[in-house]
């Protein structure tokens, strides 16, 4: 009985969300085949990004809202790959390399910043994301085409400066990873390569925490002072954790965008942080503890709700808008709830 209670408390969020998902699916009356094919596709599209959040959580930095920096790096890389007309897998590879290079620099800067704001890393990483968004807009709205050369005129605004709202990846790198190996099961398309990459990342993360570096990250996450006394360079380890997260987010965003096929120049990266974090938390992670399974379960649950919410809202209230607002509300509320739980527990430990 005691065990059951403990189980219910520690998995309260995933259980509540499962119930919500099942009822929304029943209300929405969406064809199950459609739902399954959407979920499978979203698993291959979003899981990598969600996984990129795990390392800083274990490193004690909390939810890294700074993954949007990685996403911006990926978009910057893709703009140039598209401009240079590099196609297919080679394009993806070059985009990943460039995104990683930019992400290392950005992650290093983010790590330095977060080390100066110990104890309020989450809010700082969030503001850092907004700040970086300003710089990103400055570069791609005002500098590109004027200071930075860009040849593909059809992606530029009519004056020749600044990118348009959407940049098309069709004909260059769209679905380049998906197309390599597709298995059809009935009506459901399974994109094997992205799923394999996700599996590889899962293995990498598991392996990482068996190495010396991984153990150091864990030690820093448990108690910075004890880790310091034990001879670990805490600041360096934290910076490494942030860099890894940013680089993974960069690669994750490339995978995400090649599936979507178009880049919303000024929006694609903004939503990524919110939805990835919400998905991870829905899967049962907290701001101090996260596993690979939290990520996978979270993507399935969160995106089920994401797919069915508008039609469920339509059936219940006669307005699809209600469903859309409801799904947005859930994303925010889940994060607010997880943060509140985090604050609650930290306070209990302190007392």
């Amino acid at each position: 009985m005691e065990k059951l209670k403990k189980f219910l408390i520690s998995y309260a969020v995933p259980i509540a969300f499962s119930i919500l998902c099942v009822s929304a699916v029943l209300i929405a009356k969406i064809p199950p085949i459609f739902l399954i094919s959407e979920i499978v596709r979203r698993l291959s599209r979003n899981t990598f990004l969600v996984l990129s959040l795990i390392i800083p959580i274990i490193g004690g930095l909390g939810l890294n809202f700074g993954i949007v920096l990685g996403a911006m790096a990926a978009q910057a890389a893709l703009f140039f790959v598209v401009d240079w007309k590099i196609k297919g897998l080679l394009g993806i590879l070059i985009a990943c390399l460039m995104a990683s290079a930019i992400s290392i620099v950005l992650g290093w800067l983010a790590g330095l910043t977060l080390n100066r704001a110990k104890g309020r890393e989450m809010i700082t990483s969030m503001i850092l994301g907004f700040f970086a968004n300003g710089i990103y807009q400055l570069i791609f709205l005002f500098f590109i085409g004027s200071l930075i050369p860009f040849r593909t005129k059809q992606f530029l605004l009519p004056e020749g400066v600044g990118l348009r709202n959407t940049v098309d990846l069709y004909g260059t790198v769209a679905s380049a990873l998906n197309r390599v190996w597709t298995i059809r099961i009935g009506m459901v398309n399974v994109f094997v390569l992205p799923l394999l990459i996700v599996a590889a990342l899962c293995l990498f993360i598991t392996f990482l925490f068996k190495t010396k570096l991984g153990q150091d990250i864990r030690a820093v996450g448990q108690d910075m002072h004890i880790a310091e006394v034990a001879g670990i360079n805490v600041n360096k380890v934290r910076i490494i954790a942030v860099i890894m997260s940013t680089v993974l987010a960069g690669i994750g965003q490339v995978i995400y965008l090649q599936d979507i096929g178009t880049i919303n120049t000024y929006n694609s990266h903004e939503q990524i942080g919110l939805f990835s974090i919400a998905a991870l938390l829905v899967g049962g992670a907290t701001t101090r503890k996260a596993t690979i399974w939290n990520a996978i379960l979270g993507v399935v649950l969160f995106h089920t709700l994401f797919v069915v919410a508008p039609s469920a809202g339509n059936r219940l209230f006669g307005q699809p808008q209600v469903g859309e607002f409801f799904r947005e509300f859930l994303a925010y509320a889940v994060i607010a709830f997880a943060l509140a739980m985090h604050g609650w527990r930290t306070k209990k430990i302190l007392m």
Binding site: T113, R116, A117, G119, R120, M122, I123, T124, M126, I127, L128, F130, F131, N133, G134, I135, Q137, L138, L141, F142, L157, E159, V161, G162, F317, Q319, Q321, V322, F325, F326, E328, F329, A331, Y332, A333, I335, A336, L339, A340, H342, G343, W344, T346, K347, L350
Partner: protein, 345 residues
């Protein structure tokens, strides 16, 4: 001379940069054919318009919970007050004061709940506040569609259900404060009522911090243990501070809306928070100390900067660079404040 250096040392580097930038913009404006009087009257209007919202940051900073990133929570209360006043069909000053009255009542209610939550999450108030703000805005978006408001000016013309995105206040209490005792000198327009209201609000907050409760709030923010030993109840002080901030946010949005002439619902409350936080920081506040002077100076500098930048910079560059500038300046300022050495912060 020493005095000047001492004064310079106390100013933050970013504040200095922003100030110099502002002066540069004025110089630039003198060379272009932008009408400076109309720019000045725009700036003055926007200072009064945003001032009360910035003022809402003071109580929470002083009690030690950081800037109130949950500003939308209070704004929602203010919007509800304004909506009730409109639904009752009240116009002019009656409408305005009734809106304020309802807003204060609702904000006290919401504020008590919000303060209770923040007390549970000590140390994470900024983050929890931010996401409480986001959540309540999304939740209220559903409510705006469902609440039984019936005034045809407020709901969608087609379908007859759900509130519109922006409501025009012209027939209700739009510009009542702005037009109160307004006078003009050439092209320069001075919204006396608006500034009087802002000054009054500042004065009330200033007075409040002279009372017993206000001093208790200050004490809790400076040293909680010392406060306890002096017989102050820190939880209660924090609750009062949060409620007060909430009420100021509610009043602030009504002042903002009447000056703007429109009431903005749905996503709009989200875009109020970060500029307000940035304003008070630009005025020289940190995340642990703030006073009324920071509010006035910060709002004046930031709003003037935004007003002047648009017409001046649009003559130098193509497109609207001010929106980007606002993002960089406000978030850069918050980032700077968050990363300052702990002894300062």
């Amino acid at each position: 001379m020493d005095k000047v250096f001492g004064w310079l040392k106390r100013i933050d580097v970013p504040t200095l940069i922003i100030f110099l930038f502002l002066i540069a913009l004025f110089v630039l404006a003198a060379f272009t054919n932008v009408s400076i009087p109309s720019l000045l009257s725009d700036s003055i209007r926007r200072i009064g318009m945003n001032g009360v919202l910035v003022l809402a940051m003071v109580p929470t900073i002083r009690v030690g919970t950081g800037p109130n990133f949950g500003l939308p929570v209070g704004i929602i209360g203010g919007l509800l007050g304004a909506l009730i006043s409109m639904q009752l069909g009240l116009t002019g000053f009656v409408g305005f004061w009734v809106a304020i009255l309802f807003a204060v009542l609702i904000c006290i209610g919401i504020g008590l709940g919000y303060g209770w939550l923040l007390e549970r999450v000590r140390g994470q108030e900024m983050m929890v506040g931010t996401y409480m703000g986001y959540s309540i805005v999304a939740f209220m978006s559903i409510m705006w569609l469902m609440l039984p408001f019936k005034n045809p000016d407020m709901i969608w013309a087609i379908g007859g259900k759900g509130l519109r995105y922006t409501l025009t206040l012209d027939k209700y209490f739009g510009h009542v404060l702005n037009n109160f005792l307004k006078f003009r000198i050439g092209g320069f327009e001075f919204p006396t009522g608006l500034l009087l209201f802002f000054a009054g609000a500042c004065f009330l907050v200033h007075l409040f911090f002279k009372t017993r409760m206000g001093l208790a709030i200050d004490l809790v923010g400076q040293n909680e243990r010392y406060a306890i030993s002096s017989g102050v109840n820190p939880s209660r002080a924090r609750l009062v501070a949060v409620v007060m901030s909430n009420v100021l946010a509610g009043v602030g949005i009504i002042v903002y809306a009447q000056s703007y002439g429109f009431l903005q619902l749905y996503q709009a409350p989200l875009f109020m928070t970060f500029p307000a936080v940035a304003s008070i920081l630009i005025g020289g506040a940190s995340i642990r100390r703030a006073n009324i002077r920071n509010v006035v100076v910060g709002t004046a500098v930031f709003q003037t900067l935004l007003t002047i930048a648009l017409p001046v910079l649009s003559q130098v560059t193509r497109g609207d660079i001010t929106e980007v500038m606002r993002l960089i300046v406000s978030n850069g300022m918050i980032l700077y404040a968050l990363t300052r050495a702990p002894r300062e912060a």
